[in-house]
Amino acid sequence: MAEQASLESPVWNRPLPDDPELAAQVREIREKHLLQDARPPREVAEKVLGPMARLGRVFWLALIVLGGLTATWLATWAYQAYQGMGVTGLNRTIMWAPYIVNFVYFIGIGHAGTFISAALRVLKFEWRAPISRAAESLTVFALLVAFTMPLIHMGRVWKFYWMLPFPNQRQLWPNPRSPIFWDMTAIFTYLTCSMLFMYLGILPDIAIAREKASGWRKRLYTVLALGWRGTDREWKHLDTTLNIFSYGIIPVMFSVHTVVSWDFAMTLQPGWNSSIFGPYFVVGALYSGVGAVIIIMAILRKALHLEYFLREEHFNAMGKFLLILSFTWVYFYFNDYLLPWYHKEPILTVIFRLFTSGWAAPLWFTMLIANILIPWATLWSRKVRSSIPALVGVALLVQVGMYIERYLIVAVTLGYPELPFDWAVYVPRLPEILITLGVFAFVVLGITVLSRLVPIIPIWEVVEGQLLQGTRRIGRAIFPAKTEAD
């Protein structure tokens, strides 16, 4: 039935069945699923491009507040670079803390974007269509921030280029044995790939925006569209390139957080020196990253009136995803603690007791509640997953939990080396707090501005998805189904 209709009339004009019972079923399917609820491409484009160009009062207010916080970040960084790292709460035992916590956290956030985009694209999960670009933009800005973090953390940041491999008068290359060198390589690869991947996907949408825009936007899009005309040849090339990127970027993604974990796992620090850190960090990254994507989706939906695109089904699916990642993460976390608990190495016992009953216990238990108890208690319910405020609440808690988890690993564990004389506690001071606030603001600012500059919903992917969807009738029931076009 669906196939015949699509031959006769465009997909957005498909009539409802005459039978009222079947018609009700079709209506329900259309209400639930974005890809079944086809509209003319012109209308779909308007739903994205319209709100994008309207800069309301809230936008300017957000711009000022977030811009102010970002400026504070840069000013604090300048102050710290001028005064010396001593303005932070770091001490001779805990030489890494706030910035490396942020670094790990933001790399983690950066994971989900490309994962949702690339992995779900490879697996042909069509529902991801409206989410992918918001997730990718989160990846790009989170990675940019993550990239600055090791720089902010350096004692002599003005010499940062000494860590880059380039021919120089010192005739000295970076040390390939240092995990920091692997780090720089992995993150730089990932950042470049993510930016290219995102930009390629944007091209057709920029071209659509170019046709509708006027004034400075027209000029901007004309440049950004790189002369995209939408010929068959161009589409074929785009499809091939995106596929290559999708397959290529997934192993890169796994490598990045594994390498980040090696910054810790390769050291002699008790509590860090653990072979499980690689997969454990990757899963933790996806966990916090998917949570962050949910938050960004909810904000964009509200700010840009994207109710048509981002529906219950998307939040529901992301909620399930979050729950599965929570299970996986707990598996690794349990492993990471079971072994030290079992073999009772003295220093690891000290750290373990610190978490369970020492001064770090409030942090540890908050983390367990936010990361395990509440997600497990709520996310099994479809009601919670489909309610946007409830799901965003859980996702925010996961952010808090995962931030604390990184804080416990980096800033607390590091204070307990083997010799008790060196034991120390790190207490954050104003510069770290301002810089941390500032980078969070910068990520939100980046996405806010980007969502007003480029179509944050991939118009062409939605339209393409809608063209390929149909319904099947089996007896008295109608089911959503994919047509044979793929």
Binding site: M85, G155, L172, I180, F421, D422
Partner: protein, 258 residues
């Protein structure tokens, strides 16, 4: 020009006078007898003066920004009246298998096979502090601020030692500037290095001679003679860092205390 000739030229001596030999290799080793250590901290002061180690304010030291290339770690043992302090002088252990070396992205922490020393190249350091984290002894000191020397201390700075800038890592060098001097003196005079000729500042100052320094590869040296006893141990030996600082346990057969 050989390394030796360059160094002699730096000292104003004719390169032609340099003997046609390579610099000999050494296994510089320190032995600290904890039975003799009284925890007086004289070594700490001597080290500060010899090596231009910045002196931080009381407030900064409380915040954990104190910089000491050698420090006396004090541990309490026992309860009540029986409680007593034991002292563990802690300095860079000059590990043969140093964890700080591979993690540095810019080769600021490097190994000298010839001298058996772990060297820190200050002006190459960018301050990632990875080495500091990876040092199980926490022997590496970071310049949290640019060093400031007040009053007459500026007149007392040792001209043989660099004053490090802010944001770089530094650590005990086994007084490498003194090693260089005695090595070259010996070469110019055309004789092998004598045991006891090279004394680092801490060992020179120690009132109880708890610190002994020397070349382990010379079997006649005091260090080599005293190694291998029952009291000998290395701190965190199980980590496999192979330190070149050996300790002798306190409270030996005489039943003495630490």
């Amino acid at each position: 020009m050989s390394e030796l000739e360059t160094r002699l030229l730096d000292r104003g001596q004719s390169a032609a006078a340099a003997p046609k030999t390579e610099l000999p290799s050494h296994k510089w080793t320190m032995l600290i007898d904890l039975d003799k250590c009284t925890g007086c901290n004289a070594c700490v002061v001597a080290c500060h003066v010899e090596n231009n180690v910045p002196i931080r304010s009381e407030r900064e030291v409380i915040r954990g920004h104190g910089q000491h290339w050698i420090r006396i770690e004090r541990y309490w043992e026992g309860e009540g009246d029986a409680q007593r302090a034991t002292f563990l002088p802690m300095l860079c252990q000059q590990c043969s298998n140093a964890p700080c070396e591979p993690v540095c992205p810019v080769y600021a922490s490097v190994h000298s096979e010839r001298e058996n020393l772990n060297l820190q190249v200050y002006n190459r350091c960018v301050g990632t502090r990875f080495c500091g984290n990876n040092c199980p002894y926490r022997a590496r000191q970071f310049n949290w601020f640019a060093p400031q020397f007040e009053g007459p201390i500026t007149e007392m700075l040792n001209p043989d030692v660099t004053v490090r800038s802010g944001g770089v890592m530094e650590k005990c060098t086994f007084c490498v500037q003194r090693i260089r001097r005695v090595e070259e003196d010996a070469l110019v005079e055309g004789r092998p290095l004598r045991d006891g000729e090279m004394v680092p500042a801490c060992a020179q100052t120690c009132p109880t001679s708890a610190i002994v320094f020397g070349d382990r590869s010379d079997p006649q040296s005091q260090v080599a003679q005293r190694l291998g006893g029952q009291r000998e141990f290395q701190v965190l030996e199980h980590l496999g860092t192979a330190p070149n600082v050996y300790y002798l346990k306190a409270g030996g057969s005489d039943g003495g205390a630490g």
